[in-house]
Amino acid sequence: MKRLGKYIALFVAVLIAVAPVYWMLTISLKLEVDQFASPPAWFLFSPTVAHYTDAFVTRSFGQYLLTSAIVAIVSTISALVIGTLAAYSLARFHLPHNLDNKLSLWILSTRMFPAIVTAVPLFLMMRDLRLINTRLSLIIVYTGFNLPFVVWMMRGFFAELPRDLEEAALVDGDSRFGALWRVVLPLVAPGLAATAVFCLIVSWNEFLFALVLTQTDAAMTLPVGIAGRVTQYEIKWGVMSAAGAVALVPILAFALAVQKYLVRGLSLGAVKG
C-alpha cells in the first residue's frame, strides 16, 4: 500500500512536469484546425512539420538559435572560470576581519534585488559602449548575473573538500594553480557540472535583458524571437511551439550528458580509510 502511494505521488509529479511539454510538442505538430479543436485532440491528429519549416526555413529562428547558443555557452564558461577562481580563493584564503565572508555576502547581495531595476542602467551603459544589438552585451550581462550563483555553489564544494589533498599536492612540488587544476577541480567536477547546467538554463531562457538589449534579427535570442510571434493581429502558436520544442533539445541533451556527474560522491571515502 505504501509503495502504491509512492508511485501515485511520483506519477502526479511527472504528469505535472511533463504535461505542458507534451502539450507544446503536440501543438507544434498540429495544424491550426487541430490546435483549437474542442474537446482537445490529445493523441489523434494528423501531424505536420509545417510549423518547423516555417520557423527555421522561412523565418530566422535558426539565427536566434545560434545566438542563444553562443551567448549561453560563452557566458556560462566565463562565469564558471571567473566564479570558480573567486570561490576557491574565498574558500581557502582567509582575509583579516572576516573579510572573506563579508565579501561573499556582498557578492550574493547583487542577486537580492529584482533584476528589472538594473534594466535601464544596463541599457544606458550598453548604449554608451555601443554594444546594443550585440551578442557581447548579453554575454557580459549573463556572466554578471550567473557569477554570484557560481561563487556560492563552488565555494560550498571547495569548502567540503579536505585541505589535505591540496597540501599533499603542494608538498609534492606542485604550484597552487597546478594543485587546483590537477587535484581540486577533478574532484569538484560534479559540482562544476551541476553549476554549469544551472547557468546554461538561466542564460538560455533569459528574456528580460535580451528583449531590452537586442532588437535586430542578428542579435536576438530565441526567447525574444518566440515572443515576437505574439502580434497585434495573431498569435503564431504553431511556430512558437516548434521553436520552443527545438529550444528544449540542447539543454536536455547537456543535462543528460552530465547526469552522471550530477550524482555526487566521487570524493567520498577518498581521504579517510
Binding site: P162, D164, L165, E167, A168, A169, L170, V171, D172, G173, D174, S175, G178, R182, V183, P186, L187, L266, S267, G269, A270, V271, K272, G273
Partner: protein, 355 residues
C-alpha cells in the same frame, strides 16, 4: 639535510600553539615529535613543510632560512595522517604525481614508480584507485609517493595511527628499516610513545606548545627532564608520590624509602619533593621483607607476558608490573619493595627533575 628551529613561535589569533621552539636536527637523523594532542607537534611539522607560517623565529634548512620559501620549492615529502591520496587517480598516477609535476620524461617516471612499488611490495595495486585499497595498502602508497622523488627530508604526521594494532607494529618496523636504507632525515609526529621510543634516534617531547626535552629514547626514559616527560613515556605510567626528605629517607604517611648517597646529596636542599618510580621498579611479594611496605590489591590485569597490579597504599595509588605468574586476590595484602636507586625526584612546584 639538517634542520633548525630557532626561537620559533606560532600563534593562531590569541592562542599560542608553539612557543619559542629551539630544535636542531642533524642530517640523516630520525627525530620523533612526541606529545599529547594539541601540544603543537603537528603545527611544528606544518611550519617546516611551509603549510603554516611561523609567527616569529627562523626555520633553517642546511643553514639557510626557509621561512619565505613556498611549500612546493622546499623539496620535502610529507605523509599525511589521512594519507591524502588523490582519489581520482590510479595508484601509479598517485605515486608518479611528484615526478609528473617535475616534468620528468615518461619512461623515467614509469621506471621510478615501478622501483618504489617493488620496494614497498605494492606492484599489484598500481592500476587500482585509492578507494579499492585497505588502510595498510593506502599507507604504503602514501609512503611510496613520498619516497619516489628522493626528497631532502621526510615529514610524517601520525602515519600509522589509522592502522590496526598488528599492522601498526609491522609498519613501524618497516619504517625504521626504510629510513635506515635511505638514510634521509625524517621528522615523525606521533602521540604514541611506543612509536617514539622504537623509531627515533632522538625524541622531542612537547607539551602545550613548549619543548620539554629533546634527547635519545634511552635518556628520555631514564632521565626524564620533568614530571610530564616521566609520566608520558613508559607503560604503564610512572607512579608519583608526594613526600618529604628526612634523615636520608623519603617519607610520607604510609611510605618510607631509603635514599642512595647520591640522592641524599642532591636532595639535601629540599624538604617536600615528588618521588617518581616506574611500575617495573617496584617488587611485589606475598610475604613481608625488611623495609617492605604493606599494600592492598585494588585490581590486577594480566597482560600475558606480565601482570599489572594496581594497589592502594593508604591514600596512595600505585601500579606495579609483576611477573605474569603473579596471582593475588583483590583486596588481599601484599608487600612492596621500592628499588630506591631507580627512583626519580621532582621539584613539587616546577616539576623539574632533581635527580
Amino acid at each position: 639535510m639538517s634542520i633548525c628551529f630557532r626561537n620559533v613561535t606560532k600563534r593562531f589569533g590569541n592562542t599560542t600553539v608553539v612557543e619559542d621552539l629551539n630544535l636542531e636536527i642533524n642530517d640523516g637523523e630520525f627525530v620523533v615529535l612526541l606529545g599529547p594532542s594539541g601540544c603543537g607537534k603537528t603545527t611544528t611539522l606544518r611550519m617546516l613543510a611551509g603549510l603554516d607560517n611561523a609567527t616569529s623565529g627562523d626555520i633553517l634548512v642546511n643553514n639557510q632560512r626557509i621561512n619565505d620559501v613556498p611549500t612546493q620549492h622546499r623539496d620535502l615529502a610529507m605523509v599525511f595522517q589521512s594519507y591524502a591520496l588523490y582519489p581520482h587517480m590510479t595508484i601509479a598516477d598517485n605515486i608518479g604525481y611528484p615526478l609528473r609535476v617535475r616534468k620528468l620524461n615518461k619512461t623515467e617516471q614509469g621506471e621510478r614508480v615501478n622501483k618504489v612499488a617493488a620496494l614497498l611490495e605494492i606492484e599489484s595495486l598500481l592500476d587500482r584507485k585509492p578507494k579499492q585499497l585497505s588502510g595498510g595498502e593506502r599507507q604504503r602508497v602514501a609512503l611510496a609517493r613520498a619516497i619516489v622523488r628522493e626528497p631532502r627530508a621526510y615529514l610524517m604526521d601520525e602515519p600509522l595511527s589509522n592502522l590496526d594494532a598488528r599492522l601498526r607494529v609491522q609498519m613501524r618496523g618497516e619504517l625504521k628499516r626504510l629510513q635506515y636504507q635511505l638514510g634521509t632525515t625524517t621528522i615523525y609526529v606521533t602521540h604514541d610513545q611506543a612509536e617514539a621510543m622504537t623509531l627515533a634516534h632522538r625524541v622531542a617531547v612537547m607539551r602545550k606548545g613548549k619543548l620539554q626535552q629533546f634527547d635519545t629514547p634511552m635518556n628520555i626514559y631514564e632521565r626524564p627532564a620533568n614530571r610530564f616527560v616521566a609520566e608520558f613515556v613508559g607503560s604503564p605510567s610512572m607512579n608519583f608520590l608526594e613526600g618529604e626528605i628526612t634523615k636520608g629517607y623519603f617519607v610520607n604517611k604510609e611510605i618510607r624509602i631509603r635514599l642512595t648517597e647520591h640522592q641524599r646529596q642532591s636532595l639535601s636542599a629540599y624538604n617536600g619533593v615528588m618521588l617518581g618510580i616506574r611500575p617495573q621498579h617496584v617488587r611485589i611479594n606475598q610475604n613481608r621483607e625488611s623495609e617492605s611496605i604493606s599494600a592492598r590489591v585494588y585490581v590486577t590485569e594480566l597482560m600475558g607476558n606480565e601482570t599489572y597490579v594496581f594497589l592502594t597504599v593508604g591514600t596512595n595509588r600505585i601500579v606495579v608490573s609483576a611477573p605474569a605468574e603473579f596471582r593475588a586476590e583483590l583486596e588481599s595484602e601484599v608487600w612492596l619493595t621500592f628499588i630506591g636507586d631507580k627512583a626519580h625526584f621532582f621539584d613539587v612546584q616546577s616539576e623539574a627533575r632533581i635527580c
